[in-house]
Amino acid sequence: MKDNKNLLEIKDLSIHYITDDGTVRAVEEMNLEIGVGETLGLVGETGAGKTTTALGIMNLVPNPPGKIIGGEIVFEGEDLVKKSQSELRKIRGNKISMIFQDPMTSLNPVMTVGDQIAEVVKLHQNVNAAEATERAMEMLEKVGIPGTRHKDFPHQFSGGMRQRVVIAIALACNPTLLIADEPTTALDVTIQAQVLDLMRNLKHEFNTSMIMITHDLGVVAEVCDKVAIMYAGNVIEYTDVKRLYTSPKHPYTIGLFGSIPDIESDESRLKPIKGLMPDPTNIPSGCPFHPRCPKAMDICSQRKPKNTEVEPGHFVKCLLFENTEK
């Protein structure tokens, strides 16, 4: 998987939040790659570090308290971590854009939606105000909203419509990488499907790479090429979709599948993973998952597992597999 087609390579990225109550290791030594046109799913429970990863790529981790401690984010051959804010601003919204989780709050309530789309156009393209507005209307049409509504304010739209506006903002400048942070979580189920369809279509139309952050394995199966499972700041399993669904390796991943209610089976009860996510300031020693792990061994509490390639393109961070390799 190390060829030059990769649009984005994340190498050993660590992001910490340093607060009075202690340090939160939100992202620990992360390694990911996304090729052109590919979609990567980033899956995990709330607090696993998915959003931090996304913000890290945009270099928008709130600082303080957040800080990129180490590692590289190589985008189109250049390390974003080393770039200045003004260089980054040229990339944000232009080459990399982001769709946020909650459409109800991610639009500025006192600006018309047209202006909000036009703003990003004006920032990155050499256009005048009229052209920017025209482009905004065009984008609205593209996401299925009549262009004439560009003078309306966000509160005049429903949640699904707002998310469409957010998508329009994100795609207004033909980004090469789109980061979608749980874009459908806050929406009604029926709307979710529509929005996902829309995203998939537009992604193909613009040939955009995408990082899809979600805790919804259904969504992953539907849209993603590759999947990274995160737990307490670590990518514990990373492979392509098919392999993940056919042969998940990490006990946590297996646990996740176990907790999905299966409509087709008669079993009406979920099998939730026992225990809770660890306190982010006080992550267990060794493998952070070991207190909840059904297959935990003594060593799990003592040593951190390394990233192990169990088969080509399938990485797992688990001592079970480290041992077999040895």
Partner: protein, 308 residues
């Protein structure tokens, strides 16, 4: 919107009637005979009785109140007991000074408070923020009149930069405006900071940043526009407070404003002026509040859509 404003204006009527009743009652049952006060300590009894009759002070309470309201509706709010001039004229002569003072005070507080609040919010817990917050808290804690005296001591007595009394030339307005402005600047600073902090945490600020927008525009446009509503509320309240609360500042700096007129009139039992004054300030205050509510609509489209 027009309907909304009209309705609000109509709602003023019962409120004003209530204000009149309260003040009228209070003045009525206040000990001290205005006739005696007008005539001074050396006037004969017969003249006091004569004057009481002239002023209608012996009529029953409700008759006096009814007469007042009846005349007030026709624009006549009586004559001052001391100068025998129409109260409306007395107040209107004094009002420009008070309005000027309050407006300048608000101007000082806004131009000081909003930038400081913004910088404090964007650099939360920085040295600047800490100093500004302690200063703001001290500003809130400092008695206004005390601060006025200090400013006089320093700027007019020591440095001789500004005069210590009067209110007709710009240089005379500096110290009163500062006295009045700084304490509300402190309040506005605190409000701006907390409101900005609240807004900066919002998702749409992140959206703006993710668009590649420059930080200064993110703060001054996206964040500030959203943070303005509570700030405007505070400014409106401060303006009203300054209108009434300019009393102390007006007396320290010998400013011929409504506030001082009121205090003098209360002391002199000059009922018509007190009533007229309170009514006048209450109306002004209510208008400012209405203006603030209209401003909300101007700032926030969500509120505008509610004003139907």
């Amino acid at each position: 919107m027009h309907k909304y404003i009209l309705r609000r204006l109509l709602m003023l009527v019962p409120v004003m009637l209530g204000v009149t009743l309260i003040v009228f009652t209070m003045m009525h049952f206040t000990p001290g005979d205005p006739a005696k006060i007008m005539l001074g300590e050396s006037a004969p009894e017969a003249e006091v009785i004569k004057l009481r009759e002239e002023l209608g002070l012996d009529d029953p309470f409700l008759v006096q109140f009814g007469r007042y309201v009846f005349n007030a509706v026709q624009g006549d709010i009586g004559r001052s007991y001391t100068t025998n001039r129409p109260v409306a004229i007395e107040i209107m002569e004094r009002f420009p000074s008070t309005l000027k003072l309050a407006a300048l005070g608000v101007l000082v507080s806004v131009s000081l408070g909003i930038p400081t609040g913004i910088i404090s919010a964007t650099r939360q817990y920085s040295l600047f923020d800490n100093i500004a917050m302690v200063a703001a808290l001290l500003g809130v804690s400092m008695p206004n009149f005390w601060q006025g005296l200090m400013l006089i001591l320093f700027f007019s007595v020591q440095l001789k930069w500004f005069p210590s009394s009067g209110f007709s030339t710009p240089s005379q307005m500096v110290l009163p405006a500062l006295t009045l402005g700084t304490s509300s600047a402190a309040i506005i600073t605190r409000m701006t900071r907390s409101s900005m902090l609240e807004v900066i945490r919002q998702d749409y600020i992140r959206t703006a940043r993710a668009k590649g927008q420059a930080e200064s525009i993110v703060i001054n446009k996206h964040a500030l526009n959203n943070a303005l509503i509570p700030i405007i509320t505070v400014i409106g309240l401060q303006f009203g407070y300054l209108l009434g609360g300019a009393v102390l500042t007006e007396s320290i700096f010998s400013i011929p404003g409504v506030g001082r007129l009121m205090v003098e009139s209360i002391k002199a039992r000059n009922f018509p002026v007190v009533q007229g004054g309170v009514l006048f300030i209450a109306i002004t205050f209510s208008f400012v509040n209405l203006l603030v509510d209209i401003l909300y609509a101007f700032v926030d489209p969500r509120i505008k859509s509610q004003y139907k």
